[in-house]
Amino acid sequence: MSNTLLPALYNTMRRIRTFEERVSELFIKGESAGTMLHLSIGEELGPACVGTAMKNNDTFTTHHRGHGIFIARGGNPDKMLAEIAGKKDGYCKGKGGSMHIADMKLGHLGANAIVGGGIPTVVGAAMSYKYLKEERVSVAFFGDGAMQQGILYESMNMAALWKLPVVFCCINNQYGMGTKIEDAVGIKDFSKRAKSFGLNTLHINDLDVEDAYYKSKEIIESARKFQPGFIEVECYRFFGHARMDKSPYRKESEEKEKRKLDPISYAKSKLIKNNILNENEIDKIDNNIMNEMDNAMEFALKSPLNDEKEIFKDVYSKNDPMPVSVHEKIKKILSN
């Protein structure tokens, strides 16, 4: 056990939470592009442990609730918040928004707004790594909802059949929108499903991020040796599904109870208990993160809007003509 691991994991989790709080603020300020903002507050453990266990060159896709994962993989909060605000300096020039953040340089093959949509991408990425003899693993992150999308099973089968360096990582936050997992599946034991397709499995169901890190690492390293894996991280979505959702479909008492299972508080206690960091040191970390995220906020708010022409860019490659605008077409017809 190292004395730097838990602080690093704590730092990551705290950065995720603080980032998401800023996203919320952006929304409240009326500066977010739309309201489809899915926060990972309460779910920081999975992104932190799996994200940290991945290596530099490893790649991943995420679901719509993907901010946390990308933060854990080194995503730049400035460009992320700018993207969420729909601004020019965002990762995707504001054209993708919260649900489509991507960064090829950091191996982020894309967030996806289609439940399950980004899963086969990692199968293909892994085919490529294997063929090109690159020692990389590709990880698909998705929610418990995607466990009900057929494409997951098609992808699992391919990964097992072709022995690909792939990990499927399910962030099971107990809900798909307002539907409790019990109302969405016949049997909750997802590892059993993954095993039946031939995957290594890991089920994380407690609050110790350090422990989860070591276990995740094993799965990822097995995948690197062509034994694909599956990780389920059970957690709880502390707040509503998206920013507009007040969760009327679940009891406040449930929320209260479940919010006590906070991986960040747990890590903090452990840091203190094990004499790795003291309260002051932790406060300092938290403050640094606050500053970082304040700056990101400022960056996003200051970032300019896109030029109208941006609508037509990036549909086809730079070598090819851009689509002709409807207005140009009409002009031409009228001038006939």
């Binding site: 309201t35 707004a113 037509f312």
Partner: protein, 332 residues
């Protein structure tokens, strides 16, 4: 929903008109069930099925797993076996997940099986831009459906039509794709439950005019009306046609109108190419070719994915200002 027997003049929302239609239909016909993601406890992503769970119970109002393909397929199986399901896809963008069940199964079983069986069901979905949903949550994919023989297709703009179209679709034997618009749920208008003028498959001439026909459907109908009001002030008399159903398509009303006005503007929020607006444009040209004073103009969204940035999204689709401008140019 206590005031069921009431008529609503100028005050029901599009959302409530839909809820009421489902409510009234379910009261009348025990074979109607509703199934979809978060339509029961949550009441639907846009609230269109709110309270129905409490009123009709979880045997008839069924939250499903996030499995679009099986949702459509199971609804089809139920429709073949004595029920009359309403299935909901949360966004039309999810047609992609279920297109085999929609286009290869639902649309074709009656034909493939030689007329032995039909699939009396309604597939509700919701489309359009306006909430920065991005490329995968903002599309208008009616063109795929209109290109699929076997499926009826309706896209109401008004609460009254939403009510009657849904009620009617729940009485006929043809599978109907029923597409709502995310920005219409909060709009309101009258509802006449006994509307003597409503006829399924008939377009609605919302404004009579003599200088130009503006033809559209769904949310763009409201844009067209707004533009027509402005144009009226400048002495351009606009005929506004709301198609309401795209299959069946009321070719007669379109052609009759354009034969009168001799000018036509087709407005849609879909992509431009190979689309519903291409079809309507062709029909008008084909049938009014000799008397048209100006070429038909189709004004649509751009042939690009939908951008998230609100400033881009706004001009990505037709705007009222431009509808006015193009109408004027056509009337020059």
């Amino acid at each position: 929903m206590s005031d069921l027997k009431k008529n609503y003049f100028d005050k029901i929302t599009y959302r409530d008109a839909l809820r009421l239609a489902m409510h009234d239909a379910m009261l009348e016909d025990k074979k109607i069930i509703i199934m979809g993601e978060d339509i029961a406890k949550y009441g639907g992503a846009y609230g269109a099925t709110k309270d129905l769970l409490n009123l009709f119970g979880n045997e008839r109002v069924i939250d499903t797993p996030i499995s679009e393909s099986a949702i459509v397929g199971a609804a089809l199986g139920a429709a073949m076996s004595g029920l009359r399901p309403i299935a909901e896809l949360m966004y039309v963008d999810f047609f992609g997940m279920s297109m085999d069940q929609i286009a290869n199964q639902l649309a074709k079983i009656r034909y493939m099986f030689g007329g032995q069986i039909s699939a009396p069901m309604v597939l509700r979905a919701q489309g359009g831009t306006g909430r920065s949903g991005g490329a995968q949550h903002s599309q208008s994919l009616e063109s795929w459906i209109m290109h699929t023989p076997g499926l009826y297709l309706t896209m109401p703009a008004k609460p009254n039509d939403a009510y009657h179209l849904l009620r009617h679709a729940l009485k006929i034997d043809n599978p109907t794709i029923f597409i709502e618009h995310k920005l219409l749920y909060n709009t309101s208008g009258f509802l006449d439950k006994n509307d003597p003028n409503f006829l399924f498959g008939k377009a609605n001439v919302l404004r009579e005019g003599k200088d130009i026909s503006i033809i559209s459907y769904s949310r763009m109908t409201n844009f067209a009306e707004n533009a027509a009001d402005q144009l009226n002030k400048e002495n351009i008399s606009v005929e506004v046609i709301d198609l309401r159903t795209l299959n069946p398509l009321d070719r007669e009303t379109i052609i009759k109108s354009v034969k009168k006005t001799k000018r036509a503007l087709v407005i849609s929020e879909s992509y431009y190419t190979s689309s519903v607006p291409s079809e309507i444009t062709s029909i008008i040209f084909e049938n009014c070719f000799k008397i048209l004073k100006k070429p038909v103009i189709r004004y649509t969204a751009e042939d690009t994915p939908v951008p998230v940035a609100p400033n881009l999204e706004k001009n990505y689709i037709p705007t009222i200002e431009k509808i006015v401008e193009y109408s004027k140019k056509l009337c020059n």
